[in-house]
Symmetry: C2
Subunit: 363 residues, 2 copies
């Protein structure tokens, strides 16, 4: 059912170059003052990334028989939307890097006026300046995403459908996705967070935007303002399940993956003391002694290779590894089951490859 690998790659490249062109040509960031804030607004969206969200939206439109050109601005909108949430996430997580380049607040810190160097707490003021400006950069990108979606009328989407898409983004996606982010902020400080709680968080933080992208593509393809229509709902569910499976696999790769392939040091989640699904499942079922042994490794910044092997062993022996992979497979199977019921056209094959890319990966 999957598309030929060459076809998938070349179609995805088309989406990437279309997004690159649209981001570069968009007049909005140039209206921003000071000029360095406008540059920061364009930074993440210009860096590329896999563009899996716009591809999902465009192919969902095609799957439903729509002209994919009608989905251009909506596709740009989900990509911009993803990026503003990353900017605010990076502030909250105090991450210094994003896609191998400086995080937005790190970039903006560099624009702190050098005339203020005489001040005693220069470094602290400069850090705060970077964070404050990055809050504002994300806010402008949030507006940019909404504007891009509203520009769907320029692609021939009728105003009624466009308003429905905007309501779904602003009135459903935003509270849902941001609730997921808020739970992610709160969980490390809470006791008794269960695998079910984590699943809810993942469904909101990652699943909701993918669901929105698929639904929007379907609504444009079907020319409907009704996000409750069966095909729209099903395609949304497919994307949401795919997104959850993706995050679960991510969890697994962080401990059991190959550092060379993933590009991330193995066990970084463990080192940072993250309350991941894998850790939570392990602590739920491992014998008391194994649990205490594992807990001593959690949040240890200088974890050795032997200690990571030890953590792996505990996770495997407790059955948590198998349980995690089983859950990922359940979500990925649900997504595939929906896809086989969809119209059989080339976009279905592209979406099957899209799903495969999300789940069956080594990096």
């Amino acid at each position: 059912m999957k598309a030929d690998k060459n076809e998938f790659d070349s179609e995805l490249r088309l989406v990437c170059s279309q997004m690159d062109r649209m981001v570069a040509a968009d007049p909005l960031p140039a209206t921003v003052r000071p000029l360095y804030l406008g540059d920061a607004v364009r930074a993440y969206p210009s860096r590329g990334g896999k563009r899996l969200r716009p591809a999902l939206l465009i192919w969902s439109c095609g799957l439903m028989g729509g002209t994919i050109e009608k989905a251009r601005h909506a596709a740009l909108a989900v990509e911009l939307y993803h990026n503003w949430t990353l900017v605010h996430d990076d502030i909250i997580d105090q991450d210094e890097l994003r896609r191998g380049h400086p995080a937005c607040h790190t970039l903006l810190r560099e624009s702190f006026p050098s005339t203020a160097t005489h001040l005693g707490d220069f470094g602290e003021r400069r850090d705060k300046f970077g964070y404050d400006m990055a809050i504002l950069a994300g806010d402008i990108q949030h507006g940019w995403a909404v504007d891009a979606l509203a520009r769907s009328t320029l692609d021939g989407v009728c105003p009624k459908v466009t308003v429905a898409l905007i309501r779904r983004m602003a009135g459903w996606l935003t509270p849902a996705l941001i609730s997921g982010e808020a739970l992610d902020v709160a969980f490390p400080h809470m006791e008794g967070v269960s695998p079910v709680d984590l699943e809810t968080m993942l469904a909101l933080k990652t699943g909701a935007l993918l669901q929105f992208a698929a639904e929007s593509g379907a609504m444009i393809g079907l020319d409907t303002a009704d996000h409750d229509r069966i095909e729209v709902r099903e395609l949304g569910l497919l994307a949401r399940c795919g997104g959850i499976a993706f995050q679960l696999v991510d969890d697994w790769l962080n401990i059991f993956g190959d550092a060379k392939a993933t590009g991330k040091p193995v066990g970084s989640d463990l080192r940072e003391g993250k309350k991941t699904m894998l850790l939570t499942m392990t602590l739920e079922t491992a014998p008391r002694q194994a649990s205490s042994e594992l807990l001593e490794l959690v949040g240890k910044p200088d974890l050795s290779a032997e200690e990571i092997d030890c953590a792996r062993e505990i996770m495997r022996a407790s059955g948590a590894e198998a349980r995690l992979l089983g859950l990922a497979k359940k979500f990925s199977d649900s997504a595939s089951d929906i896809l086989v019921r969809m119209p059989d056209n080339r976009y279905r094959a592209l979406l099957a490859s899209w799903l495969d890319q999300l789940v069956n990966r080594t990096k």
Copy 2:
């Protein structure tokens, strides 16, 4: 030309109670998780305030001959929009109070899980938790404002006009207003900021939202998607000029006003070392010795009444006080000149009172 005081007060009360009802009945905040984040999302919009922005929007619609019921959701949208920008502003300024109640991040700090009290840096972690959650509360309110505007179709605004309003909010207002906020963040760290720079900042930070409110009311009243139509542009300019005049008067009241009337301690801008228009104008024209004397008072937290008198004297003698009031009058006159050319109906009288309220005030 102004409305009778009783009529103005009772019409404004109507707007207030309508906004109160709509905020209380809106289902969006209840969908947010954790529940305390949903409460924080509703907090500022529930606190009332003067509701001058929704009143401006509704009366602009009436002025153009529109049915004011069509402007309900758009009016809610500008009020919510104002509130999300306040939430992010309060984070940046680290203000602990808003309208006499805890700021959003101060409220959210209280929800930091108490199970984390054993941690050494509990206070610091709790502060960061409050700020992080407040970024997210503002983000959800931003979405809420867009959704409210999109719900204008429920009031009978046609989808085409609704899309035009959303594009104006997301694609013009957001970059403009946030640019104003960014300049306000950057100016204290910059040298050579002139009165003209400050005027630009005020036009963006305060003027743009009032301009948007008036334009939107006019567009709904005229049933047009064209924000460039002459009546729309003129009414927008009126509101923008009114907003700038309002801020200039605010500046003056902070130094020359009566603390009993304003409710703010006289000279707080001076104590906080704010680069206000009044200070900037004074430093531009005062003789060198007076300037140095004044600069010694700027940012002095324990300023005495005598020192404030001394600052006043320097500001007055330099001609800056007169220049500031002259500039405020120029903007307020421009606004009034536009209003006299507008259709003569009861909404024009209400808007004349609205403008008067903004400019001729002692608090």
